[in-house]
Each structure stands twice: as structure tokens, then as C-alpha cells.
Symmetry: C2
Subunit: 183 residues, 2 copies
């Protein structure tokens, strides 16, 4: 079986490739950069569905897309579905500055995979609860990994890629997607 992962984020593709390499070696994961004008929505599932439909129009083969975001409670769910854009503009430093007075540091990562099998779109959600660290720590991963500590742990995702690979929203959503493909 061959599935296309349509994404312009090479980190996301690498994570998925490594996941399927272990979990489903028979599945051939291919990659196509995919840039399109995303809809504005506060909901990752809505965005992912729209993106999957647009990607299928372009590539005309079974494919999936992934949309994810970091939702910080004390910042009214900022940066949410605008996480990639916010990262480019203000970075992790910006997030820590915004939270300089925040006693509530809880946050969650949410990821949605939308899979277009040629006939219909199916969606899968993965969530990882955690908190925003006081400072930037670690060099692994990408994006907000250096400031995100999963619930019950002491290290950021960027300090422990093993932790990330086991607990992350993306790992969880890939697992659900993989189980679905297997059925």
C-alpha cells in the first residue's frame, strides 16, 4: 500500500516516516510538498478536512494531511491553529514573554490527520496534555518542543525525543490512523 503525506513541513514527514517504518514497514509513505491557502478556523479538524479535499484535487491519489496546534489555557488557546505562523513571528521567546505572569501554565497539543482515500475523508485526533516550561530547554524536535513539558514529566519534548515519540499528539494520531488502515 502506498499513501502520500501532503505537507510542506519536512519535520512532520520525518516523524511520520519513522513511525510507519516501525509500525507498518509494508506501507510505502511518499511525500509531496503542499502549500495552499488554509482556511481560518480555530478548529484543527476543520482545517485538516479542507486541506485534504484541496490536496486530493491537486494530487488525485490516496493521501493524508495533518494540522496541529498548541493551545495555551491562560492565553485563551493562543497560538492554536495559528501555531506555525506565530512561531515564525514571535518564536518560543515570545510565548514565554506572554506568559511571564501566568500561574496557570497548562497547555495541550492537538493534532488532526485527515485521510482522503479517493472516496471520502476520515479524520483522527491526537492530544497531548502538558504545560509550558519557564524557559527554553533542549535542542531536539522542532517548533514549540523546547517549551512543552508533557503531563507528569519533567523534561521538554526537545530534551527527550524518546518522550516525544511515546507521548506526543502526533504519535497518538499516527497510531489511530495506522490502526484504521489496518482494519
Amino acid at each position: 500500500m502506498e499513501i502520500l503525506f501532503a505537507t510542506s513541513n519536512k519535520h512532520k514527514f520525518e516523524e511520520a516516516k519513522s513511525f510507519f517504518g516501525n509500525a507498518r514497514p509494508a506501507l510505502k509513505l511518499t511525500h509531496q510538498p503542499f502549500d495552499y491557502s488554509e482556511i481560518r478556523s480555530d478548529n484543527v479538524e476543520e482545517i485538516a478536512k479542507d486541506a485534504a479535499a484541496a490536496a486530493y484535487k491537486q494530487f488525485k491519489k490516496p493521501l493524508f494531511v495533518e494540522d496541529s496546534g498548541l493551545f495555551i489555557n491562560s492565553l485563551n488557546d493562543f497560538p492554536g491553529t495559528f501555531s506555525a505562523w506565530t512561531m515564525k513571528k514571535i518564536g518560543n521567546i515570545g510565548i514565554l514573554r506572554l506568559m511571564s505572569d501566568s500561574t496557570d501554565r497548562t497547555a495541550k497539543f492537538v493534532s488532526c490527520i485527515a485521510y482522503h482515500d479517493g472516496k471520502k475523508i476520515s479524520t483522527f485526533i491526537g492530544t497531548c496534555e502538558g504545560s509550558i516550561a519557564i524557559k527554553i530547554s533542549g535542542v531536539d524536535g522542532f517548533g514549540y518542543d523546547p517549551i512543552f513539558i508533557p503531563q507528569g514529566e519533567q523534561k521538554t519534548f526537545a530534551q527527550s525525543i524518546q518522550l516525544k515519540n511515546k507521548l506526543s499528539h502526533r504519535y497518538k494520531v499516527l497510531l489511530k490512523f495506522c490502526e484504521y488502515l489496518h482494519d
Copy 2:
């Protein structure tokens, strides 16, 4: 002549109504709330054009829409075209926190009106250069007015609505639009 201003921001409608009341009393400005899924773009003109096309489909009469944003130099043009969304999430307090270390406080407001006359879309741009204040001051206006000081002035837009009505990006773009309608 009657023109519809399609906007969900009542402050924007009030500003436009007051402007046309003085500048073109013969023009009848009407108002319809207009919510639609804006495209993601860093360009106010691109967004306004798309919105005007969508609004015309809905209302089927001559109309204009307006899109604007605050572009802060030291924050890589954040919050830009996501200004309204950012205001809801982190507010003026958030912007000041992000700039706690910024020596460069220059910023500009940019506004674009897109006018659909039934046949074609024309766009108009108004810009107001200025800087971000050290603290929130004033109660007039809305949005980022309490932290925006126009170039060469000492007060924020929210401290002097007279200043805002004379210098703002929205005043300038309405002036251009009004001249165009007059031709």
C-alpha cells in the same frame, strides 16, 4: 448613491459613517454584518479583495469591505493581518509584553478598502506610520488604539480621537475611496 459597508466590526462602520456624513452627505451608507471564512494571507489587499468578492456573492449590490492590520517591525510584522484575532487572544497587554525588550518600537497600521461596484473590484490603501507606546493609554477608539502613537505625536489614538480622525490609516483610505467615488 447608496453603498453597503459589509463588516462585522461596528466600530469600523461607525468611523466610516461619521467620515461620509462629513465628506459626502449625499451618499447613503448602509450596513450589513458580514462573517465569512477569511483567507490566510500576510497581505491586507489580498484579503480585502477576496472578501469583497465573497460579500458581493452574498448581497448582490455595490459594496465595500475593509481589512486592516497593525504591523510591528521588531515582531516581524506581527500581528499583521491577524490583528483582530490576536487582540481577542492576548490583547494590548500581550503586545506590550512581547515588546518588553524592544528598542525599535516602530509600527504601522495599514488599511485596505475593496470596493465591488457590480462589475469589478477596486482597492485603496491607507497607511499610518507610528510607534508602540510603553504603556496602555486612553479610552477612545478600539483595538490597538491605546498603544499606537502616530509619527511625530505624543499621544495614542485612544488619548486623542481628533488625532485619530485626522491621521489614521482608516481616515486615509476612506479619503481615497471618497475621491474615487466622486470622479
